[in-house]
Amino acid sequence: MDYINAIILLLNFTILPALTYGSQLALGAIFVTLIYGILRFANFATGDMMSFGTMFAVLLTYYFQSIGLNLGFLPTALLTIPIAIFMMIFYMLIIDKFVFSYYRIKKSPPVQLAMVSVGVMFVTQAIIRIIIGPSDRRFLDGEKFILKATEFKQMTGLNEGLTIKSTQIITIAVTIVVVSIMFWFLNKTKTGTSMRAYSDNEDLALLSGIDPKKVVLITWIIAGILATIGGVLYGLDKSYRPFVYFNNMLPIFAAAIVGGIGNPYGAFLGGYVIAFAEIFLTYAYKKFFAYILPETLEPNSLVQLLSTDYKFAISFSILVIVLLFRPSGIFEGKKI
């Protein structure tokens, strides 16, 4: 029995990747929840908007690399994020002006706006395919690992190695910073409070003199920041492939709904719930049990609850279970 090796094994193959993946989902889920809470519709273009922002980061990374601009051991993509965010917000505001605002002023029901966002999703997908194409792209450069498995083994003398990828630390650190700033903005500033007020009671907010245009504008700006950063972090960690971003919409929506849609704290935590559930349920525990059980009880099979092919089924199942038993989400708390 070897508990330390077992813990390192889990840390390396489940906890660290789940924290990383959870952070990426959390950013997307907060995006969904903000749009739902303030603009009052489920935005089906979420995944593709994240992809759209990331596309600029990829293209700019290639350009910066070609002119020799880089951040040393950090990925060049981090340098491109501000410009990509700017492009993303610009695109969102154009879409809002020509598409969403028409339905908002008409006070269309949320279902209609959701259907409109499906249209936006297809258009966005098409634009992405025209500009960058559907293929898989890696744009990570700089130092890949902070800690390599072999180094860790040498340092500690353990059997199991712990690998810490730079993208994992970057993802977790950037998420903490971005989410903290966003919560501070929503809770402590006058503009943030006015956005929560608008989300809570639109008519009274208007009577209090809150400018709806400004609220909508700031919502899209925050959404653009979250979508781009979430998308770039995911792309750096895995790779950039437009179709995968579209697929990620399911776990992102699941995270937002698990957290209680409209509740940004819930969406943030929901991202981790979904990520941990996906990874814990699809991990093969054979080696883990080999460490903690006596040799005679060592399992013969992989001890994998579900094949990784079924990871989307997990998000979907969680979504259905939450909607059946706790439709307001599993976390209590303030809505946006």
């Binding site: 006058k190 409070t193 929560r196 007020a197 989300s199 809570d200 009671n201 008519d203 003199g209 809150i210």
Partner: protein
């Protein structure tokens, strides 16, 4: 010349029929005016017209002798007209303090002194300032609603059925607060179902029937008018 007046207002919803026709109301600073009448008489419609939530087909609304008939509700708020709707009149997911801060959204100056004035007027709110309004009782919510509306230091305060759905004890308490508000030199207009109690604290009252002025006079006169008593007060 009254401080705030709606003169010969005619209005309706969309292309539908006129709900109020040639309806005139006015109120002076430091005065409470009650708008009474049976269901469907156009009381709330008259109030919405004064606020600009409905477009007037004819007539005008003036404050301090300035015509504001063409202004949007938000711009009228800037002129010092505050409104407390009958339902959904608080931000239920925000704290008491945040509700007051949003009430003063248009104010650029330091609002702390106004907030402490509100807490003096409604001491219970000061105790509950960081509580979510959705968790408060009905009477306390109404106080939050009044407090929010007072944050812009309005010269005209319009209340749409402030005592709807609260217990008689709370109703008396709310009326006391409304009298206190009036004493700060605010013009108060309220639509009320509890006609008798409303008239007893009002300086004047209007009785609307099918969108037109039917009776008007001091609170006392209306209370003693046999016809008003018979048709609206149920005595």
């Amino acid at each position: 010349m009254a401080f705030f007046e709606g003169n010969k207002m005619t209005a309706g919803y969309g292309d539908g029929p006129d709900i109020i026709t040639s309806c005139s109301l006015n109120v002076n600073k430091g005065e409470i005016v009650a708008i009474l009448g049976p269901n469907g008489a156009g009381k709330s419609t008259a109030m919405k017209s004064l606020l600009g939530l409905l477009k007037l087909k004819s007539g005008y609304v003036k404050i301090n002798d300035e015509d504001i008939s063409k202004l949007s509700p938000q711009d009228r708020v800037k002129k010092g007209i505050s409104f407390v709707p009958q339902t959904k009149n608080v931000f239920a997911e925000l704290t008491v303090q945040e509700n007051l801060e949003i009430g003063a959204f248009l104010r650029e100056d330091d609002i702390q002194s106004v907030i402490s004035e509100i807490y003096e007027l409604f001491p219970i709110l000061s105790e509950k300032k960081s509580q979510i309004v959705g968790e408060l009782s009905g009477g306390q919510r109404q106080q939050v609603a009044l407090g929010r509306a007072l944050m812009i230091k309005p010269s005209v305060l319009m209340l749409d059925e402030p005592t709807a759905g609260v217990s008689p004890i709370v109703m008396d308490e709310l009326f006391e607060h409304i009298i206190k508000i009036k004493k700060t030199n605010v013009a108060v207009i309220m639509v009320e179902q509890n006609a008798k109690q409303a008239l007893s604290i009002s300086d004047r009252g209007y009785v609307l029937v099918t969108g037109q002025n039917k009776f008007e006079g001091s609170g006392e006169d209306l209370l003693n008018d046999p016809e008003v008593r018979r048709s609206f007060l149920g005595v």
